[in-house]
Subunit: 255 residues, 2 copies
């Protein structure tokens, strides 16, 4: 039942989110909430404008207090990234710096490969109004830009943190892209489907529905194809047996 | 310069976001902001608790007014999805219903393929506290669940809209996952690099650095490999020419 790989993910294997000179406590709290939703809990703050701790951040965290309680505060970006092996800087704008710019998805894959090699990774997010300065950006080896609507680009800092953290979570996700919602049942086996088709065929034969010998094979095949397409669950197969049984009985009663 | 494919994307080719019985105006506004960041602008509201229009929604939209102005209000989910060919319902929980559940990424790919076939697509999001009811869910052909931290799953409605809209935007994104930030320059050509190496070699020859005939080939190759590894831009090549020229001059002056 245990998932040891996930346990390890809370040490070096997960990146640290570093908010640089954040202005609003609400945004720090919402960023913490976004992080924890995605399984991240290591937060650093560089010179938060309104000091630290900040009650407004706690209110906005909606239960992600563990992230805020463990947050470390630094005076400078240099100090905040000093122990990091790799640093990614988020930027909304094109910069004069010649830097490699990656999407959040590419960044997530690279972060996973760096942490797998034992590197400690930090992701910088700039202040609300101005974003990161060039002096901040040069602390990073890679720039990250979220390629959204060029006509309306106004993500707030907590939304940017959410998207980066979400891509990180997805990059390690082993869950299937598609599943069935009902855990009390399972897809029907081919055997169960065969039994159902047989039951249906018998019932239709008895009812006279398949009395045209020449058309019979085509009609049976079309019905089978129709039921196969629905990808029935074991429970639905049982329900369908009931439906056939019930309908057949009515037929007999009327006779 | 024009991108006609993007223009078409604002008609049937983009899904409609449908907020079912939303409670807080702030969340409607933030959802609109998240949508427009991702290039979505078609919004429907089913029985918003505080009526419509809502000044709190406008304040929270941060400029995404166009989405709110065009929003359509309906009394029931049935009415809101009546003209839709496909409906996706977002859910945080496992349901008793036997429904296909997909991730936002899978849903985005499916939505793109449905709209490409001309289907109108709606995505339902439930009220803040309770989420969609089973009666709402059965209006949809597909359920969407965001597979985040099972120990802390508390996305608000605008964050859920952001992630679904973001995946939709990424599914149609032709932008490269990686690029260079500085548009005023470009990667150096091999020809330009060759000229630079020649320049460096001449300068080092003149300086006497390469005077050991036997070691010369290895030293030259190591220098070339080092400079190749930096993947220089055309501008950086020009700067480097300047550096060599300047250093060589100083050398001659000292002699």
């Amino acid at each position: 039942m245990g998932r040891p790989a996930k346990g390890r993910a809370t040490t070096n294997a997960a990146p640290t989110i570093i908010l640089v000179r954040p202005q609003l406590g609400e945004n720090i709290g919402m960023a913490a909430r976004a992080m924890l939703n995605c399984g991240l809990s290591s937060l650093r703050l560089v010179a938060p404008r309104d000091g630290w701790p900040n009650p407004k951040a706690e209110r906005a965290a909606s239960g992600a207090d563990v992230v805020l309680d463990k947050a470390k505060v630094f005076d400078t970006v240099e100090a905040a990234v000093a122990d990091m092996g790799r640093v990614v800087a988020t930027t909304a704008r094109n910069r004069e710096l010649s830097q490699r710019i990656v999407t959040p998805r590419r960044a997530a894959a690279e972060i996973r490969s760096w942490t797998a090699e034992g590197d400690k990774v930090g992701v910088l997010f700039g202040p609300e109004r101005t974003g990161l300065t060039n002096d901040d950006m040069v602390q990073a080896d890679t720039a990250l830009s979220i390629p959204l609507n060029p006509q309306f680009s106004s993500l707030n800092i907590a939304q940017a943190v959410l998207l980066v953290a979400y891509e990180w979570a997805m990059a390690g996700e082993e869950a299937p892209a598609e599943r069935m919602s009902d855990h009390s049942t399972r897809p029907a086996t081919k055997d169960e489907l065969q039994n159902l088709f047989d039951h249906l065929e018998r019932a239709l034969d008895q009812s006279g529905f398949l009395r045209h010998k020449a058309m019979r094979p085509a009609m049976v095949n079309n019905l089978r194809a129709l039921l196969q397409r629905t990808a029935m669950t074991e429970q639905e197969v049982r329900s369908f047996h009931g439906v056939i049984k019930f309908l057949s009985k009515r037929k007999h009663d009327e006779e």
